[in-house]
């Protein structure tokens, strides 16, 4: 028999949100896990750096006017032939790698976050509707989800890419490349959200507080949004964090394969793709630094997601 530890009484309900956050169990657990704190600091630092790229970078690597082909393939500053202007070296086009990483991270983050946001929105909405409505609607949505799962993100990206390319003959790739990527990621990852939310909704909708709201005649959208959603959204936080890492890697993969961003707007993936070609000629820095940045960021995000999942699991307390 599991006897839960006796409750110590209500946690003080300070009126301010800040005091409630500080007093929360999650905050306490967070600071007790040094690895998670480090991971959080790292990922926050990278995100902030990416956000402030225009101020932190030494040049804008996407501005053709600032890029000189003569500066191509210069090694990092501590090696022979290095140039103090380019701390981490340059790529094959002469772009400063340090700046390219910052801007590239920004691109990756925008796409990653938007893609995940799109996936979450689609998934949560469909999950709520499927779980609450039940019956045929539920069956249809779940079958669509099943079919969706058989398509890997790459395939979807190729599909969407092909369709958009055919439809937009004439307009440059730059305008719709972002949208294609975000759409592909959104369409690939929504199923996990939908399934999780649906499962929780199936349980919550039978609870009496939902019955009480129905009894008073509350319209269904209000019940879904204001009663159900806040109570089922917990596990989504874990999925969001882990998905973010996955989304960025997916974007990197797609760009690596050439289905993603054009060379003029390189993301980390594009940089890695470029650098890969030069790896065997000895210019190791072009692939290493973007690769390291990507790895560190995704690892940090995943660690946070892992911690969150364990922290939210009442059985592991």
């Amino acid at each position: 028999m599991t006897i839960p530890p006796p409750s110590a009484g209500p946690t003080p309900s300070g009126d301010s949100l800040w005091s409630r956050i500080m007093a929360h169990d999650l905050t306490y657990l967070f600071f007790r896990s040094p690895l998670t704190v480090v991971a959080a600091i790292l990922s926050l630092a990278i995100m902030l750096a990416a956000l402030m790229a225009p101020w932190l970078a030494s040049m804008d690597p996407f501005d053709p006017a600032q890029v000189y082909l003569a500066d191509a393939n210069i090694p990092p500053v501590w090696q022979d032939g290095g140039d103090p202007r380019f701390v981490l070296g340059t790529d094959d086009q002469g772009r400063d790698l340090y700046s390219a990483i910052l801007y590239g991270m920004r691109v990756s983050l925008v796409i990653g976050l938007s893609g995940v946001a799109l996936a979450a929105t689609i998934g949560i909405t469909l999950g709520l509707v499927a779980g609450y409505a039940g019956g045929r609607i539920d069956a249809v949505i779940m079958r669509v989800a099943d079919v969706q799962l058989t398509f890997p993100a790459i395939l979807i990206a190729l599909l969407v890419n092909g369709v958009v390319q055919a439809l937009s003959k004439g307009t440059s790739r730059e305008t719709w490349a972002f949208g294609v990527l975000i759409l592909s990621i959104g369409l690939s990852f929504w199923v996990q959200y939908a399934r999780t939310i649906r499962g929780s909704t199936l349980i919550e909708k039978n609870k009496d507080y939902i019955h009480a709201a129905r009894l008073v005649g509350q319209p269904t959208p209000l019940i879904l949004l204001r009663h159900l959603l806040p109570n089922v959204i917990g596990p989504v936080l874990v999925i969001l964090t882990i998905n973010l890492g996955l989304a960025i890697i997916t974007e990197a993969t797609l760009s690596f394969l050439g289905v993603g961003l054009p060379p003029t707007q390189p993301s980390l993936g594009t940089l890695i793709s470029i650098g890969n070609k030069y790896l065997f000629s000895g210019d190791w820095w072009i692939v290493t630094f973007p690769g390291l940045t990507l790895a560190v960021f995704v690892l940090s995000i995943n660690l946070i997601g892992d911690w969150l999942r364990d922290a939210l699991n009442p059985r592991l307390q």
């Binding site: 028999m1 599991t2 006897i3 530890p5 006796p6 409750s7 110590a8 009484g9 306490y28």
Partner: protein
């Protein structure tokens, strides 16, 4: 012929203290529990949510989960201390010498194994018998607990039994290894009223025949009145009254016990108003000084704020209350 074990108790708790170390501080969930159970006796441990009755049962069988731990005191099984034993030994004792019956028969039985398999496994783990003999014993047990056609039902899966039948199987399982003590935690709460009576009768009969002591934990005073020989009433982690069941149920002495009995609606009359105790049981981090009941007590005295009353003999039982210390 009386053997020495007749006079010495099967289970004895001496000043058991259980604490939980949490980030809000150390909470004392059980504050010095002492009682004993004689062979063949049914001791009811009664109390409301948060009083600590389930925790007492968990502490006895060593199923306290961290951050809970036994801080001090002793648990003696047939005169031998078991509270500080290593896990392996405790596990062995749990199966052989202490049987357990929990509230939910659905989760007490493994749904993937036949009922017979679970019984036989328990029997053979603790008794040196062959497979056939174990099966014969299992069938006999099922018959004793009142399962019709036991030789057929023994090969059934738990989900093929109704709720009451499942609980009977759980009782059989608890008795299979011939334990000296059974701890039953809310054994009838999940059952219908008509089935409750049957299960109570089965439990009583079997334990009486085998001389097994029973610690019956429940919040249902009616079940206690029908089943127990003695009853201990718990409040906020302490035993505040203990005595023969008739005395405690019909003429409780402690004000809390009185309030408790008075607040139960009776079947044979309809009062104008139910007796109610104001307030609620204190949370563990807010247990009052002195007598833990004094903020709610209609007979509170100045002394109650300062000193903690201990169990003192009054008549055939014991009461922890200053009202009964003076002049008795």
């Amino acid at each position: 012929m009386t053997s020495p074990s007749v006079t010495s108790p099967v289970l004895e708790l001496r000043n058991l203290v259980v604490e939980f170390v949490t980030r809000h501080g150390t909470l004392r969930a059980l504050d010095g529990i002492s009682f004993s159970i004689a062979p063949g006796e049914v001791l009811g441990v009664v109390g409301e949510s948060g009083a600590g009755k389930s925790l007492t049962g968990a502490a006895v069988i060593g199923l306290l989960e961290p951050p809970g731990r036994i801080a001090s005191g002793e648990v003696l099984l047939a005169g031998q201390r078991i509270d500080h034993l290593p896990i392996e030994e405790l596990r062995h004792i749990r199966g052989k010498r202490i049987g357990t019956i929990f509230q939910d028969p659905l989760t007490s039985l493994d749904p993937l194994y036949r009922v017979g398999e679970q019984l036989i496994e328990t029997i053979r783990t603790h008794l040196p018998v062959s497979e056939q003999e174990a099966r014969a014993r299992a069938i006999a047990l099922l018959a004793e607990v009142g399962i019709p056609a036991p030789e057929k039902r023994i090969d059934g899966y738990p989900h093929e039994f109704s709720g009451g039948m499942r609980q009977r199987v759980v009782i059989a399982l608890a008795l299979a290894a011939e334990p000296e003590l059974i701890i039953a935690d809310e054994p009838t709460t999940a059952l219908d009223v008509s089935v409750q009576a049957q299960i109570i009768a089965v439990l009583k009969k079997l334990c009486r025949e085998r001389g097994t002591a029973v610690m019956l934990i429940t919040h249902d005073m009616g079940v206690i009145a029908e089943t127990a020989d003695r009853v201990a009433v718990m409040y906020a982690g302490r035993v505040i009254e203990i005595g023969p069941v008739r005395d405690v149920v019909k003429s409780p002495k402690h004000p809390y016990a009185k309030g408790l009995m008075g607040s139960i609606p009776a079947l044979d009359e309809r009062p104008e108003r139910l007796l109610q105790i104001e307030g609620a049981m204190p949370r563990l981090n807010a247990i009052p000084q002195g007598c833990s009941f004094h903020p709610r007590c209609p007979h509170v005295m100045p002394r109650c704020h300062e000193a903690r009353p201990v169990l003192a003999t009054v008549g055939a039982g014991q009461v922890a209350c200053f009202l009964h210390e003076v002049g008795q």
